[in-house]
């Protein structure tokens, strides 16, 4: 997935002179996850450069660059470190077009590695997507595989509005079925790891059905998509698995069609439960499919605690918990 992201940057910079890339360690070094490797060498240090360790500075400067007419793509080293930039994201980038009646806009992409499963402890594991989905004016994207990562990132860079691009770091090097005790697999032999070198986009706001099924609908994104798939296979449940890909704006149409068909819904995310994005999903599913629901919607999420280091697999909503949720929703 790293190479797909790197390649997307490369193509976007080649295509559009207004695209500039910066962030902590993204320049000479190419980023701590190497997602920007080689860009400085290829495009020069005025289009790809290191930034001081100041997330509000990075996003604030990017807002100013947008006002000028550039299209910055910035990296926050871990999503856990976006909080200092939150004011610039929420109060500035998200509301710029509205408050200036379209005079100023913020066509920027803010990338950040998200999620756990790498023994990162509470400050390298967070999934703060719900803190963005509550903000009118933002778009929020979470890819689950290299092909989507590339296509969605290119679509995000093209997009005229600010896009929060959350990269599940557990997926950087390979798909993950949630069984942390099994050997790590790489993207090499995975269909979705086979990414064309050409320029292509995956449209924002469109979900993807990863697995068709009729017994229940699973709403998932990022890391949890493959975990849900594994759980469905293992449990032998005929689950329809929807990879949301874009959380805001949400592809309600696809969701609604599926839940109306299955009558049952399981929502999965890694973020803490209360006021997580699963709450919004549950609410809209309930609002749009109430009369089709045959059992309560179930949320399988991280617990309402910080993401712990040693107990990370107890925190992580893994296959066992998902299978239990399947059983629960099928019984219900």
């Amino acid at each position: 997935m790293i190479e797909a992201i790197r390649n997307a940057h490369d193509l976007a910079m080649e295509r559009d002179k207004r695209v500039v890339v910066f962030g902590e360690d993204v320049g000479y070094f190419g980023g701590v996850f190497r997602c920007t490797a080689g860009l400085q060498k290829k495009y020069g240090s005025n289009r790809c450069f290191d930034a001081p360790i100041s997330e509000n500075g990075i996003v604030g400067a990017a807002v100013g660059m947008c006002a000028y007419g550039l299209k910055p793509v910035v990296e926050i080293q871990f999503a856990d470190y976006m909080y200092p930039a939150y004011d610039q994201i929420v109060s500035e980038a998200a509301r710029m077009r509205h408050r200036s009646a379209g005079q100023f806009t913020c066509p920027m992409v803010i990338r950040m590695p998200t999620g756990g499963g790498i023994f990162g402890g509470q400050t390298h594991s967070q999934s703060p997507e719900a803190l963005f989905t509550h903000v009118a004016g933002l778009k929020v994207v979470v890819p689950s595989n290299p092909r989507d990562a590339k296509g969605l990132l290119l679509a995000a860079i093209e997009d005229p509005d600010p896009v929060i691009f959350l990269e599940p770091k557990r997926l950087y090097n390979g798909p993950f079925d949630g069984h942390h005790d099994r050997p790590v697999v790489s993207w090499k032999n995975h269909e979705l790891g086979d990414v064309s070198e050409d320029y292509f986009t995956v449209p924002l706001g469109k979900a993807k059905i990863r697995r068709e099924g009729s017994a229940l609908t699973v709403l998932a994104y990022g890391t949890m998509v493959f975990v849900a798939q594994a759980a469905a296979e293992e449990a032998g449940v005929d689950a329809e698995i929807i990879d949301l890909r874009t959380l805001l704006p949400l592809d309600l149409e696809t969701i609604e069609a599926s839940v109306k068909k299955t009558g049952r819904c399981v929502i999965i995310h890694e973020a803490t439960k209360t006021s997580g994005f699963g709450a919004e999903l549950s609410a809209v599913v309930q609002e749009s499919c109430f009369y089709h629901l045959e059992a309560p919607i179930v949320r399988v999420t991280g617990w309402d605690t910080p993401y712990p280091h040693a107990q990370e697999w107890t925190y992580f909503p893994g296959p066992e918990r998902i299978k239990r949720a399947f059983a629960q929703v099928l019984e219900g």
């Binding site: 500039v20 005025n46 289009r47 930034a51 001081p52 100041s54 509000n56 500075g57 604030g60 400067a61 990017a62 807002v63 100013g64 660059m65 006002a67 000028y68 007419g69 550039l70 200092p84 004011d87 610039q88 109060s91 500035e92 710029m96 077009r97 509205h98 408050r99 200036s100 009646a101 379209g102 005079q103 100023f104 806009t105 009118a136 004016g137 778009k139 005229p160 509005d161 706001g205 704006p249 949400l250 309600l252 149409e253």
Partner: protein
């Protein structure tokens, strides 16, 4: 070592609260013309003194003196005077309109008119300002239609911002005026980002960031200083020290530093303190900084020393926290008076011309107001479409907003 004595908290307090007699005797003010004019490429370390003095051009006699004088001819000065008088008239009428209930809120510039009016004339069209809510002089001196300002203040049907923003939170891209944020300080680093973008694009335009004395405590002030310093951004960073941040005196934000301009020294940024009530001084210092920026020499920090003579906003009554006599004791005087005296002194102005100009300006502002009110006010007349509330959240309205707009009945 002796046993240490108990510690205690130091809380900065102004010298003067209601009932006290104002005393500015510890405010050291050099004579006009006394402060040197460094070369634009002088090393920051070599011009440290500039942050601890005050650049002044107009002396008590109304003469323009010293190395910073001589940039503006009589015509330009009369224009500047007119800008400041217009801004003051504009403020007066809008304050009154707010008191009449025609809008919800207003913020005036009383006593600070020179800062934004003079600064604007030192910059070029095409440069971009990232202002606070107290630099409407940038618009007036920049030729932005007052009627449009009023339309915004009234949130009426012709409001360029469609009724969305609090009064005075203007936005005027074509006039180099960035959309004002209600969140203090955010624009300071944005100005640096714009300037970086200009440098990245090998442009020749520069940016100006603006911030109040109190707001220098915010994070984005620091981010701006760090980024401006590291990337040598072509930006002018303006601190408007008008002595007060609502009820909090400037010493709370300044702390142990002697001046706000000194902040620049921690970053190797050349820093100058200027008499903000002296139109000629502000203009001269701004021109110096603009030349630096345009020559690729990087950022300059300017502290404009002035006084907020009015309330913080129409929601504020300053007599609750400061002496009513403070402004009259304020040693830098009043900017319109001072420029007027200068023009009279050099034989380019007179009481008669002043009276006539004031009458003209009053007419002009009144005419604009009439025009604006024809488009409606916050409480009556034509309003911006409520439907428009749903526009511009995104470039294209996503389905959920379309549904909501429909639900709202539009």
């Amino acid at each position: 070592m002796t046993a240490p004595r108990p510690l205690s908290l130091h809380v900065p307090e102004p010298g003067c609260r209601p009932g006290d007699t104002p005393d500015f005797s510890d405010f050291e003010i050099p004579r006009a013309g006394a402060v040197r004019r460094p070369a634009i490429d002088e090393a920051p370390e070599d011009m440290r003194d500039m942050a601890f003095s005050v650049v002044r051009v107009l002396n008590k006699a109304g003469e323009a003196v010293g190395p910073w004088a001589g940039l503006l001819d009589a015509e330009a000065l009369r224009k500047g005077l007119r800008h400041m008088m217009t801004l003051r008239q504009f403020d007066e009428r809008m304050l009154k309109a707010q008191r009449q209930g025609k809008t919800s809120f207003y913020m005036q510039h009383l006593g600070e008119e020179a800062v934004s009016c003079a600064f604007r004339m030192a910059l070029e069209d095409g440069d971009m300002h990232f202002p606070t809510y107290r630099q409407a002089g940038l618009l007036i001196a920049g030729g932005y239609p007052m009627t449009d300002m009023m339309n915004q203040i009234y949130s009426n049907a012709a409001d360029p911002l469609k009724g969305r923003q609090l009064p005075v939170m203007y936005s005027a891209r074509d006039h180099g005026f960035f959309t004002i944020s209600g969140n203090l300080g955010t624009q300071f680093i944005q100005a640096v980002g714009w300037a970086m973008a200009s440098a990245i694009s090998n442009d020749t335009r520069i940016a100006a960031g603006w911030i109040g004395d109190g707001s220098t405590s915010e994070s984005d002030f620091h981010a701006a200083m760090v980024f401006a310093s590291s990337y040598k951004a072509p930006v002018i960073l303006n601190i408007v020290n008008n002595q007060w941040a609502i009820s909090t005196f400037q010493g709370m934000a300044r702390g142990g530093a002697v001046t706000f301009a000194a902040r620049g020294h921690g970053f190797g940024i050349p820093s100058i303190r200027v008499d903000g009530n002296d139109y000629l001084a502000v203009h001269a210092v701004a021109s110096w900084a603009a030349e630096r920026a345009r020559s690729g020499l990087g950022p300059t920090l300017i502290e404009h020393v002035t006084y907020r003579a009015g309330g913080h906003s129409t929601s504020d009554d300053p007599s609750a926290y400061r002496s009513k006599e403070e402004f009259s004791a304020w040693p830098l005087g009043e900017p319109i008076d001072r420029l007027k005296r200068h023009l009279v002194t050099i034989g380019e102005w007179s009481e008669e011309r002043h009276t006539q100009a004031l009458a003209e300006i009053t007419d002009e502002v009144r005419a604009c107001q009439k025009q604006a009110e024809a488009n409606g006010t916050l409480i009556s007349g034509r309003k911006p479409s409520p439907r428009a509330m749903f526009d511009d959240v995104y470039a294209e309205m996503p389905p959920h907003l379309q549904r909501q707009r429909q639900e709202a009945g539009f």
